[in-house]
């Protein structure tokens, strides 16, 4: 579904991604790990079309379409989802209004009629349960006054509502206690199917105990320098990143 080829990207003229290659197929879970500043979050921002970043070289294909030519909203309509590392608070915009607009815009894109108010509320209720999100939160402004854990659960709730084909979870485990982590990871696992795929961006092995990856990639200085199976994550947890730097001849 996703083919990233020699992707280079800048922010404010500084090159962060220096040639990323990655292929993701339906049903797969990929973990992207790497030290701070290696470009993990940049990759997710570039894939979802954050206008702050500039792609200088390379291509990204999503189900045969040129992803980089699409607006952020159309990338979402095509089935791409990013769970933000820092979900944004939007005072004055209610969760209900926000989600209804998002869901109905997606339906419009796909040539479907908007959901009726009752069907929509039913859908909200159903999906809320996946991440045990309180009804009170759903009636509040988007992320406003939510705790760290609530914000992350809210991200997974939105993912459940939009049913993406590819989800990118950017540091979804950061700032979560064990209980919240279990709920969030549980939600992700419930949403997993043969047809969708997940890219998990994380610092730690911890999250991968809950969301089992098929592939693990190490991103370092803007490139994927090593790929392997789940055992690679365990090795990183145990030995840190220095041995990879050594392999690259840096130490």
């Amino acid at each position: 579904m996703l083919k990233i080829n020699d992707l280079h990207a800048n922010i404010n003229g500084k090159e962060i991604l220096k040639g990323i290659d990655l292929v993701v197929k339906p049903g797969e879970v990929h973990a992207i790990m790497g030290p701070n500043g290696s470009g993990k979050s940049t990759l997710s921002a570039v894939l979802t079309g954050n206008p702050a970043y500039e792609v200088t070289r390379g291509s990204v294909e999503f189900y045969g379409k040129d992803l980089l030519a699409l607006s952020p909203e159309d990338r979402s309509h095509e089935g791409l989802f990013l769970s933000f590392q820092y979900p944004v608070e939007i005072p004055g915009v209610s969760m209900v209004n926000f989600m209804r607009t998002a869901v109905n815009e997606q339906r419009k894109y796909r040539g479907l009629e908007p959901l009726s108010a009752t069907d929509f509320l039913k859908l909200m209720r159903e999906k809320r349960e996946i991440v045990e999100l309180d009804n009170k939160l759903a009636s509040r402004s988007v992320n406003e006054g939510f705790s760290g854990g609530e914000k992350k659960r809210n991200e997974i709730f939105q993912m459940a509502m939009l049913e993406p084909r590819l989800s990118i979870l950017d540091e979804t485990d950061s700032g979560l206690d064990i209980d919240a982590l279990r709920i969030v990871a549980g939600g992700v696992n419930k949403l997993k199917s043969e047809k969708n795929a997940t890219i998990v961006i994380t610092h730690y092995q911890r999250l991968l105990d809950y969301i089992a990856p098929d592939f693990v990639h190490v991103l370092y200085k803007g490139r994927i320098v090593k790929s392997g199976g789940p055992e690679l994550a365990l090795e990183l947890e145990e030995r840190g990143y220095d041995w990879i730097k050594k392999e690259l001849g840096e130490i």
Binding site: N50, P51, V88, I90, F98, T101
Partner: protein, 450 residues
């Protein structure tokens, strides 16, 4: 000839015509008004309080005035469609500056003793009552536009709620500007008296019926709210880009009274609004708020002056502007806490969104405090739309235009939240949303734009 001289000359030559079509009470103040106008003139850009709106140039053109009160043929029901759903009001009309006699609810619908109607007629019928209030808070020395209004106003709206009476149903006054192929000036006068312990709500809507001629709409509104009374005043402008509005609202509040003033500019040309409020009794509360949505070349300028003359009163001020294209906004909020006005609480907030690089906002809080045991605060911000929020929404599939609309709508929502009339609140939300979607590029209440 200066802008003001043409009005002085007009007054001198037409004095008897003006007086013949008004009442003794209203005529009583004209001499003083013209003398003041002659000695002080209209505000100029050099006046600190008028630096952002060129009042003189607004008054400079040669406007037609209907001093002979020639009846203008109009069916206000046809011109104005009340599209406030579920908002059942006692509906009155002023066409230009004449109270429209043939379209008003039966007096039987009003509680006993309540008077609503033409200021000219009421002041002729109840001269003693009206003269106790007319011109008593509208300080002509403060602003030449108030003096000019007093010199020329021949009619308007009068609302009197006797002590202890509660008017449950909101009262709605619709001002219709009706053109007749010439640029036109109207001088409207509102007088509202809410007695001790009485309660009422008034919604004033401004509409322009003709987008092809220029209007200058001058309105002076005096509001007396006696001890323990509760009064809501909503002013909503939905006029044309050719309309200039210069309006002053004067409020005098008695002890323990509670007043809400909410001024909403949805669509306009150039608007200058002055709000002067005074507390004369202790423990009174005032909520003064407003919002403006302006784009293209529209301009909205608000000046507020809250006089904490006595102790233990509470004022809260909230104004929000959303400016797009080359729109200009200005807010100057002065709060005076006089010597001895201890335990005053006065809060002011003015927040503004400039959604385009050419939009300009000027904001100026002015707090003058001469008491030492008070709580006062002010805050003013000018900002752009939050880019992170925009991207977050787009990443969820919400198109950029829609996302911008939702953010702008959210920004104004807390002013709408201050409305104490649920049906009006709902209606306002719809109107604001329509406005942001560009569907209200013209005034929606008018025949001309339908």
């Amino acid at each position: 000839m200066s802008a003001v001289q043409q009005y002085i000359d007009l007054y001198r030559s037409q004095k008897s015509l003006i007086e013949a079509h008004s009442s003794e009470v209203m005529n009583g103040l004209r001499g003083e008004a013209v003398a003041l106008l002659e000695s002080r003139g209209l505000p100029s850009l050099k006046d600190e309080e008028h630096r952002r709106t060129d009042v003189e140039s607004i008054y400079a053109p040669d406007y037609g005035l209907n001093l002979g009160r020639i009846e203008i043929e109009v069916n206000p029901y046809e011109v104005f469609r009340c599209d406030v759903p579920n908002l059942s009001t006692l509906l009155y009309f002023i066409v230009n500056d004449s109270f429209y006699q043939s379209a008003q609810p039966a007096a039987a619908k009003l509680p006993d003793g309540v008077l609503v109607g033409s200021l000219r007629e009421m002041s002729a019928k109840y001269p003693q009552l009206v003269s106790r209030y007319y011109g008593q808070v509208a300080d002509m020395k403060r602003d030449g536009t108030v003096a000019l209004n007093t010199a020329f106003a021949q009619d308007g709206f009068f609302l009197y709620v006797p002590d202890g009476v509660v008017v449950e149903k909101p009262i709605q006054l619709v001002n219709i500007l009706q053109g007749s192929n010439v640029d036109f000036m109207v001088n409207r006068r509102l007088l509202i008296v809410v007695g001790k312990g009485a309660q009422a709500k008034l919604l004033v809507c401004d509409h322009s019926d003709d987008a092809t001629v220029k209007f200058l709409s001058s309105q002076v509104c005096e509001i007396f709210v006696d001890d323990d009374a509760v009064f809501d005043y909503y002013d909503m402008e939905e006029s044309s880009e050719n309309t200039s509005k210069v309006a002053s609202v004067f409020v005098r509040q008695g002890a323990r009274s509670n007043v809400l003033v909410n001024g909403i500019v949805l669509h306009n040309g150039v608007t200058r609004s002055n709000y002067y409020t005074t507390f004369v009794g202790e423990q009174a509360e005032l909520l003064l708020c407003g919002m403006a949505i302006a784009d293209k070349e529209q301009s909205v300028d608000t000046y507020t002056y809250i006089d904490h003359a006595v102790s233990h009163c509470h004022s809260n001020e909230l104004f929000k502007y959303v400016l797009n294209d080359s729109a200009r906004g200005s807010f100057a909020g002065r709060i005076l806490v006089r010597h001895g006005a201890q335990k005053t609480e006065a809060y002011q907030s003015n927040k503004n969104l400039c959604a385009s690089p050419l939009a300009k906002m000027y904001t100026k809080p002015q707090l003058e405090i001469y008491a030492d045991d008070v709580k006062c605060s002010h805050g003013a911000t000018v900002g752009q739309l939050d880019q992170n929020a925009l991207f977050y929404m787009r990443s969820r599939g919400i198109p950029e235009a829609e996302a911008r609309m939702l953010l702008m709508f959210a920004f104004t929502n807390d002013v709408i939240e201050q409305v104490r009339l649920d049906a009006l609140k709902d209606r306002l939300r719809q109107l604001v949303e329509k406005r942001f979607r560009g569907e209200l590029a013209k005034c929606s209440g008018c025949r001309a734009c339908r």
